[in-house]
Subunit: 173 residues, 2 copies
């Protein structure tokens, strides 16, 4: 409603610009043939960047997760977007995800570690376990991003499962 | 205000019971001589429990944190409450915290690991680093609870520092 009222208030050519931008968005955006993130050029900017480590692939559920991990600045390898997570109740099995493409990339032999950055939800955990089972026989190291207390959090108000995982996953100092 | 209106509405003897309970609370509650958590008997129930592992001490900032860690069910050792975190700007240095008592407990030789569960805040991190430096020369293993994504969270909406720590602290599957 706020958007509609805004569009009714601004000048007509601004609405046209927005409309054309929306059309152009769908026309110019496709999935990167390597990492399956959204891109306007193929392969995408991240897959093309020679300064990134091609030996590590960070697996995420959705294209927006790539943006989040990039923003964090904590990763300098390549990505692979699954386009979802396993969820049998919603009819999402391995065939509905871009798992086959991931395995094909790993069979090239250039990758030595896969970091599973699926969400810390029931579906994400199931997906991570499924992928770990699939990938380990290929001789590729598989790791899972840490579960624990987010920065700025408070032990007193942390939920029990997270706190329990934080203790379980403690690191020696 | 809600409490006040409630007290004005209920019968007088209920207010009296609450008042006496408050007086009794302060009279009967003291700090446990071992872990420094609140208790009505000394040593506290947790320090007395022979089924708990006396070889591991979980260090927390406040008594309420003990309750949170207990609720998580992820820890079966003993506790030590610092009663705060280092915060030079607020005039809280090592002398204001119950650090001396912790070191004395460790010098007994029965403890082989200290888990630092201070909050993942600037003050908590500083306290953890300070304690690690102090404790390691005693030959006691020091670990820090994991920083990472809380359960049920979403990679897309995680803050950058947390996501970066989650990748850094990834665990092999």
């Amino acid at each position: 409603m706020r958007l509609t009222f805004h569009l009714l208030r601004v000048e007509a050519h601004e609405v046209e610009r927005l409309a054309y931008a929306l059309l152009e968005l769908r026309r110019s955006t496709r999935l990167c043939s390597q990492c399956l993130a959204f891109t306007s050029e193929d392969p995408c900017r991240l897959c093309q960047d020679p300064s990134r480590d091609g030996g590590v692939i960070c697996v995420v559920e959705r294209p927006a997760d790539v943006v989040a991990v990039e923003r964090s600045g904590g990763f300098r390898g390549r990505y692979h977007v699954l386009h979802g997570a396993l969820s049998p109740l919603d009819g999402i099995g391995p065939e509905q995800l871009r798992i086959r493409e991931l395995i094909e990339r790993l069979q090239g032999g250039a990758v030595n570690e896969v970091i599973l950055a699926c969400n810390p939800t029931a579906e994400g955990e199931a997906t991570a376990l499924y992928l770990a089972k699939l990938i380990k026989p290929l001789g590729v190291r598989v790791s899972r991003i840490a579960h624990g207390l987010p920065m700025g959090a408070d032990v007193e108000y942390a939920d029990g499962v997270t706190l329990s995982k934080a203790i379980e996953g403690r690191r020696e100092l």
